[in-house]
Symmetry: D3
Subunit: 130 residues, 6 copies
């Protein structure tokens, strides 16, 4: 497989997960670190998210859980809460992931995860998204 | 609901996820911190894992992802790789969670997650478990 | 003990530590994750903070230290700086905890802890609190 | 104050907290990084632990809490569990700090903290220490 | 060496790395924790940065990498991106450190590192700094 | 560029950094997660380490600093201490990186980094490596 194919496949996958975030990402990096933009399309989305063996909804559950537990990547957590909802998670399932994290990363991580979810839900309400 | 019911429900849930780990946990804490043993049954398993709204397999995916990303709780990661397999994840799905974590927590976390999975798979092979 | 009693005891304990934060917490979660609000009252405050064996001031010292070291939970750190002061810590003791954390989590954690303390102290000055 | 005085004061303070750990530290660093050994005596013990404003027992509570929450420094956690006990904490107070950390850093951190405490308590039992 | 000399040497070193940040630091701490301000000059800058054995540019590369990977100290990361540029790193080298961190701490850390770099570069553009 | 070229380039780069670690990695993953082995060659080594803009020695300084600060990836830290020495760092420079990390991630991270360095240096002594 050629590198161009990885990029094309990654861009398609990222659009499936969160079209707007994909555009923002490429745009924000184009002047300062365009190669990092390209890598972010190619490796996470072109390679990893495009793999069989774990469905896309489960991949987003894993990602939302990890980012909530780490607690140091608020912008990406919000992108992936959107992503989880876009690929089939319900809002209740997102909330349950946060509650689950209270056990493994403590209550502050869970509460800050809920704050992020709240912002995402309100943004989606204003756009009529589920 | 009475506290006794939370404990009973939690113990049942923990046995469903990983019976042996449950016994080890209670046993290891009984002399030094029996109340922490009781809380671990009551809150994570009696309250959180017993909730509707997210199926048990998805809860274990979230947990394995978070513990792999945090990278500082090897014994618990192994317990929950067992747990994930016990509640319906395939080995390939566990491996995919680790690969997914290379994106969000870096390659060392993913590689150390795979090492933990390898140990768990070998232990299960020796016992004829899937 | 019935669950209702854990909630009542937890709410009372949280009010002792930081009455306003307790109300904010319950209020902020009531639409999105009311059960997480309930758990946060029941387990941390109804179970843990209500235990004998370590006095409340020492519990808050432990919490402020941990949140400063982790460095990823700014809102909760501020709540517990208030809490520490409410249950008997002096401002100087809070500052000393931050200085102590320079050793165990590095100078950035300590300096960001001091920034949080400064905001809390100014808020309390404006309300005439010690 | 001269640097020599900071070292002398730090060594005395470290011996008060954990005499054996102090010797091990200096010994283990003398060939590879003697200056780091010296700094570790001077800054943490000569400067920070020697400060007024927070008593030694409270400083050790803060340290044990932070190292349990971070979960990535097992040898130092054990040194400071010894230290906490040497400067006036009871074993029960150490256990309570670990239980407190289940709230702020999750159950795995608390359980691994208890494992460290168990090892320390057994080592002290074998030496007739409280 | 007397302590005064460590302070003087540290202040000189900090000015070499980032003069403005040094003034801000001392100023921000002077009311609340002046001793932490003094320690921050003495130990990191008077002791560590003043050591031979690793050139200043390499020390700043190490610091920018670590703060990007930890992801929980945004103000200090920006100070040290300035510092790296002040002691001889090119902007491209700073960007490469961030890309390197995608491997060891995940893409969110790298992307948030790039955001910090972007803010610093724009601030420097407005002041005609390289 | 074709994917095969990324793999070939990555393998060559990894051999330049640490030939033995490269073989161990591929070997340890071949049964359980061969694709993760391939990705680890392709992205970190074929893409990132092969970039111009930051010399290989500086990349290893950044990596050793980050892994020491994170403190949760001991095997990879040792691989990259070897790597740093293989691409031109002196032992003293490795030690200085650890000392530098005492400032940004605390003394326990620095001390555990020194322990890892000590093991690597002894292994290299036994093989007559610098």
């Amino acid at each position: 497989m050629k590198q161009d194919d990885r990029y094309t496949r990654g861009l398609k996958k990222l659009k499936e997960i969160d079209g707007k975030a994909g555009e923002c990402l490429i745009d924000s990096l184009k002047d300062i670190a365009p190669d990092l933009g390209r890598y972010t399309i190619e490796f996470p989305f072109g390679d990893v998210y495009s793999r069989p063996g774990l469905d896309l909804k489960s991949r987003e559950i894993a990602t939302v859980a990890a980012l909530t537990a780490l607690g140091n990547a608020a912008p990406q957590l919000k992108v992936h809460i959107h992503g989880a909802l876009n690929v089939g998670c319900t809002r209740q399932e997102v909330v349950e992931i946060m509650i689950q994290m209270s056990v493994y990363a403590g209550f502050p991580s869970a509460l800050n995860g809920i704050s992020a979810a709240k912002e995402v839900f309100e943004e989606r309400d204003s756009k009529g998204l589920s």
